[in-house]
Amino acid sequence: MTQAELQATANTPTHSPEPGQRKWWEYFTFNTDHKVIGIQYLVTGFFFYLIGGVLASAMRTELATPAPDFVTPELYNGIMTLHGTIMIFMWIIPAGAGFANFLIPLMIGARDMAFPRLNAVAFWIVPPAGILLLTSFFVKPPEAGWTSYPPLSETASKAGEFIWILSVLLFGTASILGAINFLITILKMRIPSMGFNQMPLFCWAMLATSGLILIGTPVLAGALILLAFDIVAGTAFFNPTGGGDPIVYQHMFWFYSHPAVYIMVLPFFGVASEVIPVHSRKPIFGYRAIAYSSLAISFLGLIVWAHHMFTSGTPAWLRMFFMIATMVIAVPTGIKVFSWLATMWGGKIRLNSTMLFAMGFISTFVVGGLTGVMVASVPFDLHVHDTYFVVAHLHYVLFGGSVFGIYAAIYHWFPKMTGRMLNEPWGIVHFVLTYVGFNLTFLPMHELGLLGMPRRVAMYDPQFAHINLICTIGSYLLAVSTIPFLVNAIWSWVAGPKAGDNPWQALTLEWMTTSPPAIENFEILPVLDIGPYDYGMGDRSTEVDVPFSEAKEPVLSAGPSSVLRADPDPSVAVNPSDRQPEE
């Protein structure tokens, strides 16, 4: 028997006879089923992603030539602000919440989230908030960037700015409600046999993410409410004309918004940790290191915010503190990247769309991480801060990290969510177009920034024209890359081949139920017969084809001569029966 069969056999009693198909219209209702809510988040998020993408294409069209000839500079700033805001608050964060909603209860063997109604409320705040944000196009869109620094945000397009504040406040509320739910669900609703160290790594990642949301978001709300008072009531919290201090806003804003980048990327670290072992057919390498490094990242993420303010007149010693704290984050992040690579090394990698996106995720995220260490260095950041170097950096993290992670997750869990398989060849086409388009768009931006092109400009010096043209061509390729995915997803959802319970032979509990899962997930509580990543140790003689020692290819052996193995360690012994509990 393979591992997956073992796990499935142990969970036969939990398996409901029928998959839980929902009617299409149920997705448009106030439904408390976490799976419905998860899909609601994802589809809504993707819808806004398309809008944000159209705005991005408009910006790149404007930037194809040095002169502001496609839209006015004013409108450019509006588009830029809405693009950033939509991508962050309506796409990446809701997508993370979507996967968390769908997966957490299934992964920990629960029937729903801890507070299902709160969960539905949290979701239903998002679409109105998004539509509200878009209505700002009818007045005059906010023009101060997604950071909305005063005093500019208090003088340019006040109505639009006010709408922006309202809408971000609503998102913040939704995000807090969601985080409370994730936290309590993970802490309290695991099956009894699942201790923290048997928890799937995605849950660890969501634990870290939820903590950040709960600590950071209220501070953002405070800043935005004060900003709103400045705009509508003429107070002067941040307005120097009345004795206010614009720098205080920056501190409050970044106290949330730096952690926000981890809120956006940690869930997809979790996704990578789920997807890579399944498709490499190997246990995750260094489970605990990956789990605890999420917590470390989340803690460190709270004390680095002023690295966005090295040019804002921050005192020298504080700059040094924030520089060092930021650099330290490279360590837990590095642990994760190396662990993923080691998980793949020596495996039997299935190069399907999921795995390709996961590998693309590592490949592009690493670039963002490396430039992240560079911009953490104060003297260098004085040069590249607020330039296209930063635009490149942030897209390598948010697109190369989060969006590639989202796609990996969609290809991986689509069969579970819909009961149908996506088309593989089109998935690969989608991956290739995205990967090439992405690098073509954003890699050259590093050079633009180093040479002297500031960000958030609608017109630029003609010396930058060639590189910008390349970026624009890349962005069109990216836009086109979405088409095969959309067609594939819609077509497969309706008419794709049936997936079965566990098409990837995975071991986490969501695969032990029907696809799509029954309404309340499991008939009775499921059990963990083997750990969530215990690949390759079922029947020693037949299923795991690993020579215990191999002179020529030590890498491929499981025995003591493997380059990846330490001394035999009872807690990670080859066969479950050889294992001794630790401590």
């Binding site: 500079p73 620094y149 005093p151 500019l152 003088t155 340019a156 004309t241 614009p246 190997k282 995750i284 260094g286 605990r288 040019t311 804002s312 007149g313 020298a316 010693w317 700059r319 520089m323 650099m327 360590v331 590095g334 642990i335 990247v337 190396f338 080691a342 793949m344 020596g346 039997k348 990698i349 190069l351 590998m359 690493v366 260490v373 260095s377 003297p379 260098f380 004085l382 040069h383 801060h385 607020d386 590093h446 040479l451 002297g452 500031p454 609608a458 017109m459 990543y533 215990d534 690949y535 390759g536 140790m537 795991v544 084809d545 690993v546 493997s562 990846l564 360690d569 807690s571 080859v574």
Partner: protein, 338 residues
């Protein structure tokens, strides 16, 4: 071929190091460095680039090799080896990055110190002398769109907007405690920079500085945040309304360098650009003299360049032509929008 694995690994390691070192020095990504401090920043960047190149190749290389060598073969449905971890290896890849970032931090610290980042004058200790100089800024008084800010006659009750200081980059350790050779008051406003030379009562739209002399900019803003960025000096500092920030540096290389606004300040943020002109001390002196003669009294001069009195398109004309668009385009833009 029959090369043992260890030797192969060593060869790869050596090659990787060589490639990284070579690329770190020869990436050619940066514009010229016009000051000594800029050259130091470049050295720091080259180091980081070396490390980054190495790590980049390791990660991408591992991905590619894994994809080729460990891909699932047709018909093979078995699992990989059940390797759960390796403590020494994990310690290695925790400790190594920790050492590398510690090293980069120390290196950055030193470069920052050499640039003058820790000069107590610029780092936040009180220095009233500078403040009184900057509150005399002429451009400020004239162009101020702030309702309450009449910097030359601040109402007794309200603090003068330039009383607060923020922290910039001060004198490098060698020049500490001395006054800079040239002091310029810089004011950012939508969408231009005004450079005022308080010692000679000259105001200019371009920044002229003598090569090899230490310059000090006292930077402030009239309306919203701006940031002064001179890529060739690798220096950037926000201009903050209500505060004055000091930035000291020594340009070395004679030439003209772009000086751009790097903080979003409104629609025409992208056109808020001018030049830093580094001249020989003699050329600089004669420029200053010609300005003094031509622009006396300097007050009118400042008024003449006060963008507040120009229509948007008049004001933008010089910038837009520089950027390769003609005033008509701009006119159209304004029309279509209003």
């Amino acid at each position: 071929m029959n090369i043992p694995n260890t030797i192969l690994a060593m060869l790869v390691g050596i090659l990787l190091t060589l490639v990284s070192l070579w690329y770190g020095q020869n990436h050619g990504l940066l514009p010229v460095a016009a000051s000594d401090e800029a050259a130091q920043v470049d050295g720091l960047f080259n180091t980081m680039m070396t490390v980054a190149t190495g790590l980049f190749i390791i990660v991408q290389g591992t991905l590619v090799i894994a994809a080729i060598r460990f891909r699932k073969r047709k018909g093979d449905n078995t699992d990989g080896p059940p390797v759960h971890g390796n403590v020494p290896l994990e310690i290695l890849w925790t400790a190594l990055p920790a050492v590398v970032v510690a090293w980069i931090s120390i290196y950055s610290f030193e470069v920052y110190n050499a640039m003058g980042g820790f000069d107590p004058m610029a780092a936040g200790d009180s220095h009233a002398a500078h403040m009184s100089a900057s509150s005399k800024m002429r451009g400020a008084a004239i162009a101020a769109p702030l309702p309450a800010a009449d910097a030359e006659n601040p109402p007794a009750s309200a603090p003068s907007p330039n009383n607060l200081i923020a922290v910039g980059v001060g004198a490098s350790p060698a020049n500490r405690g001395q006054n800079a050779d040239v002091s310029v008051n810089v004011t950012g406003l939508q969408y231009a920079w005004i450079f005022n030379y308080p010692d000679s009562n000259v105001s200019s739209g371009e920044l002229h500085l003598p090569a090899g002399k230490e310059a000090q900019l006292n930077i402030s803003a009239m309306d919203v945040l701006h940031a002064i960025w001179i890529p060739e000096l690798r220096l950037k500092q926000d201009a903050i309304p209500g505060r004055t920030v000091e930035l000291r540096f020594t340009p070395r290389r004679v030439g003209e360098y772009p000086l751009r606004c790097a903080e979003l300040c409104g629609s025409y943020h992208g056109s808020m650009a001018t030049k830093l002109i580094v001249q020989t001390p003699e050329d600089y002196a004669s420029w200053l003299q010609s300005q003094q003669v031509a622009s006396n009294p300097s007050l009118e001069k400042a008024v003449a360049v006060n963008p507040g009195n120009l229509s948007d398109s008049d004001f933008l004309a010089p910038y837009t032509t520089e950027m390769g668009m003609n005033p008509e385009t701009l006119h159209q833009i304004h029309h279509t929008h209003h």
